[in-house]
């Protein structure tokens, strides 16, 4: 029997606002426990929340970017449950009327593009953190009140690959919008998955389980693969799935049930009486729309049309907005899309990956990259030299022409200099020279290599080849010993 998986995802994205959603405390990650708190986020008696309007704007931005309906009237609700990291005993969230609904994203699958529905996007506050120490637990409420967007998808995904593609697309949009840093390790982009399986062709949904606590794309892939297989095994052995919340144990690669008492919640949602309904007028939506940055799929389309680059190049260049922006800045100063793209893909991004840093973290600027290309064109530098220069440019921010002098990488194009090196090389490799002259053409590259070695890689390869060819043509095999 053939099965298919049905997957829906709930993503919590922490927003990059400076202050929390209902008070003025900082949202910075990693500070001393409880140093970023005030009576409001500590849930002290008598305090009241005040909505950070930036959160509303960010929600509208994501709503527009995901083709969602922006609900002009939405309201907050209280989600009631007890836990020590939730100081008020309720989370302020949205329930019946979220700020955005009915959106979608397009993902790429092996069978082409696929539309994944987004049921709703709503605003809410994050909870704090518990640190367990033996017989007692400590509460850190720095994270309490950090603004979140919860993005709930339709159960439209049919494989772990599709789920990961959706998450990557969503994360990329959030990063392009600049409203979330997408850091999965620090928990600023978190995912819960609802999974069920059914016989292929069935319309009815199977019984689902919810997977929590998955904090990397790789783990999501593995957790879903495991869970789908587990469910199929259960059904095939004639048993039924239990609807439950399960945790992914990344060390063992399996999912395990969460203790049932923790999930038996009745959240008793009701409208938050301490906040007014959120009203958004058309002009405000229009205003945000006008300031919306270009989104990943729009950029891809434009790169395709404007620069005629291969899909592979476009994917890599547009993966991160910063890279795409930097590429285009270079391009505006040096109009050779493919040459720049090659250099980005094979050299620049490799260097950055090795350093595990972003363009903004280095001293790179577009002018320096473009200068490399100009030096190449002027034959003052060869490609090897360019490769050697790049790390220095990244680290020092110095201009390539200065570094060229400093590092002595200036390309040798002078014929007399090159000629003397060529003669030297031929003299000291008489055996190979004879073989060449007797017809072993492949050795041409050997001589080029030797000259390059002698010149420290600085020889102008084009001139070198011409001169070498010229020289070799003039030598007969009998002359070799007299050289």
């Amino acid at each position: 029997m053939e099965f298919e998986a049905v997957i829906g995802l709930e993503v919590h994205a922490q927003l990059l606002t400076k202050s929390k959603i209902f008070c003025g405390c900082s949202t910075q990650f990693g500070s001393t426990p409880n140093s970023q708190t005030c009576p409001v986020c500590l849930g002290m008696p008598g305090v009241l929340p005040v909505l950070n309007r930036k959160v509303v704007d960010f929600a509208i931005m994501l709503g527009l970017a995901t083709n969602s309906t922006i609900n002009k009237n939405s309201y907050f609700a209280r989600k009631n449950y007890f836990y020590p990291d939730l100081p008020k005993g309720y989370q302020i969230s949205q329930y019946e009327l979220p700020i955005c609904s009915n959106g979608h994203l397009i993902i790429k699958t092996k069978d082409g593009e696929k539309k994944i529905g987004i049921t709703r996007i709503h605003m809410e506050e994050d909870a704090g953190k518990l640190i367990h120490e033996g017989t007692y637990s400590l509460v850190d409420l720095n994270r309490t009140g950090t603004p979140l967007l919860e993005i709930v998808s339709e159960p439209d995904m049919r494989s772990p690959e599709e789920a990961v593609a959706y998450l990557k697309e969503l994360r990329q949009i959030l990063l392009y919008l600049g409203i979330c840093d997408g850091n999965m390790e620090e928990g600023s982009f978190r995912c819960d998955a609802n999974v069920s399986v059914r016989k292929k062709g069935d319309n009815k949904l199977g019984i689902k389980t919810e997977l929590k606590n998955i904090n990397s794309f790789r783990f999501i892939q593995r957790a879903l693969e495991y869970e789908i297989e587990r469910q199929i095994d259960i059904i095939e052995s004639g048993n039924t799935i239990i609807q439950e919340t399960r945790l992914f144990d990344s060390s063992k690669g399996i999912t395990i049930p969460m203790r049932s008492k923790e999930e038996a919640h009745d959240y008793r949602y009701f409208p938050e009486p301490d906040l007014m309904p959120v009203f958004i007028d058309d002009a405000h939506i229009e205003n945000i729309k006008n300031f919306l940055p270009e989104l990943p799929y729009q950029k891809i389309l434009r790169f395709r049309e404007q620069y005629g680059l291969p899909e592979y190049d476009i994917d890599i260049l547009t993966n991160e907005k910063e890279v795409a922006d930097f590429y285009e800045k270079c391009l505006s100063l040096y109009n050779n899309p493919k040459a720049l793209s090659n250099f980005f893909m094979t050299e620049l991004l490799k260097e950055l990956n090795e350093r595990k840093c972003k363009i903004g973290d280095t001293k790179l600027n577009a002018e320096n990259i473009v200068e490399i290309f100009k030096l190449l064109d002027e034959q003052k530098l060869n490609y090897n030299g360019a490769k050697a220069l790049l790390p220095k440019i990244i680290d020092t921010g110095k201009s390539p022409s200065i570094l060229l002098e400093e590092m002595g990488l200036m390309q040798i194009s002078d014929t007399s200099t090159l000629e003397s090196v060529i003669i030297e090389v031929l003299k000291s490799n008489k055996k190979e020279l004879k073989e060449y002259l007797s017809g072993k053409d492949k050795l041409f590259a050997f001589f080029v290599g030797q000259v390059m070695k002698k010149t420290g890689g600085k020889a102008n390869p084009k001139i070198l080849q011409e001169l070498l060819k010229e020289k070799l043509a003039k030598i007969s095999i009998d002359d070799v010993d007299n050289l």
Binding site: P39, P45, G46, V47, P49, V139, R268, L275, M276
Partner: protein, 487 residues
Amino acid sequence: MNIKKLNTIEIKNSIENREIKAQEIAEYYLKRAISLQEKTNAFITLDEENILKQAKDIDNQVEKGFKGKLTGVPIAIKDNICTKGLRTTCASKILSNFVPPYDATVIENLKKEGAIIFGKTNMDEFAMGSSNETSYFGPVKNPWDMERIPGGSSGGSAVAVSAILAPASLGSDTGGSIRQPASLCGVVGMKPTYGRISRYGLIAFGSSLDQIGPFARSIEDCALILEVISKYDPRDSTSINLKTPEYLKNLNEDIRGLKIGVPKEYFIDGVEEDIIKGINDAVEILKKLGAEIREISLPHTKYGIAVYYLIATAEASSNLARYDGVKYGFRAENVKDLKEMYIKTKKEGFGEEVKRRIMLGTFSLASGYYDAYYKKASKVRTLIKNDFVNAFEKVDVILCPTSPTTAFKIGEKTNDPIQMYLSDIFTINVNLAGIPAISVPCGFDKKGLPIGMQIIGNYFEEQVILNASYAYEKAVGGFKFSPFQEE
């Protein structure tokens, strides 16, 4: 100088004119409050040192030319309004050791005008009650009859004014908690429009109903204090951004042509005869002053109690969730895990009535019941509100009894929650609608217990209410002090 007889404006003027020191005023009231505490149990916290220090500071500032609307006037504060550095308990064991690190906005506003924060008054636990008997710190006694309750939940604040332990006080009103004790103690008490006064720092009971308001011995005092605390506050999202009113300056006793509605639904069986007579007498006086009296109908009145006890308790069940022993307040000892800590802390920390209301509210919001209870109640609430909206198209204010009874005996209704809840039958709908109302003393019953009349106004028309009350006060020559003036 007979300090007892000075109203707030006279106190302020005497201090600013250097006729008397703020310290002398504070000492006088402290002496009274301390010596009568055992009799009245009006206060939960009376920090003598702190009060005298405030008074001294005011005197120093007056030396430097300070002028305020309430310079040196001691104001007693209901113990559910947060005061920085001064214990705020909500009359509950669960907050019996809670010292807020911040002032409520109303406290900041009072301090800016030179008022002295004078002690924290007793109340029903978390403002849940109509008799001040649910306090963890024991019941408060009515100055007119020591065997009787003062009303609630702001019983201590009403008694502080009635027994002249402070010139004025603040209370809070969720379903009648200012007006009903004001009525039962023979003082003025006002609940302003929802959104008029910042709730920041008021420990929440029913968030969509709670409103802070003043107790005073006269309409002038009431108007002045109301004006000081009526300021827009960006920290409270439900606070309305309106110009700060000048209630005192605009007091006007000329009420000729004022249309007063008398709702027939408020004169029903169960209302004591003496009260009906008291209200009718007041109506006659107002008529003589030139007001037009009209009978009106508020047809959804009878649903008020049911709606209130679904909505207020639902909000309370959520508002009181934070008292879990984790961060502040009482925490039960000898517990084996988190769940037991929660259960024991709440079981030992909350009193019976609070637990009853948390249960009621939890039930009202529970999945499967929400539509039938909370949601339906919210819809009926709109009908009740519309009753008033319609009425105010025909009349300027509505006049009715504040309470169906005068002060009852301590213990008389404690075993019958429904009877107790009916104490608020005439005040509750005002909170559900969010409109302002006052309770003004209007005579006494045959037992000599005070009767209160309620004057209800349209949204943000506190001035109209105050003017009608002022006209009545002038006509009857002021309100009578309680027997405690002899003490």
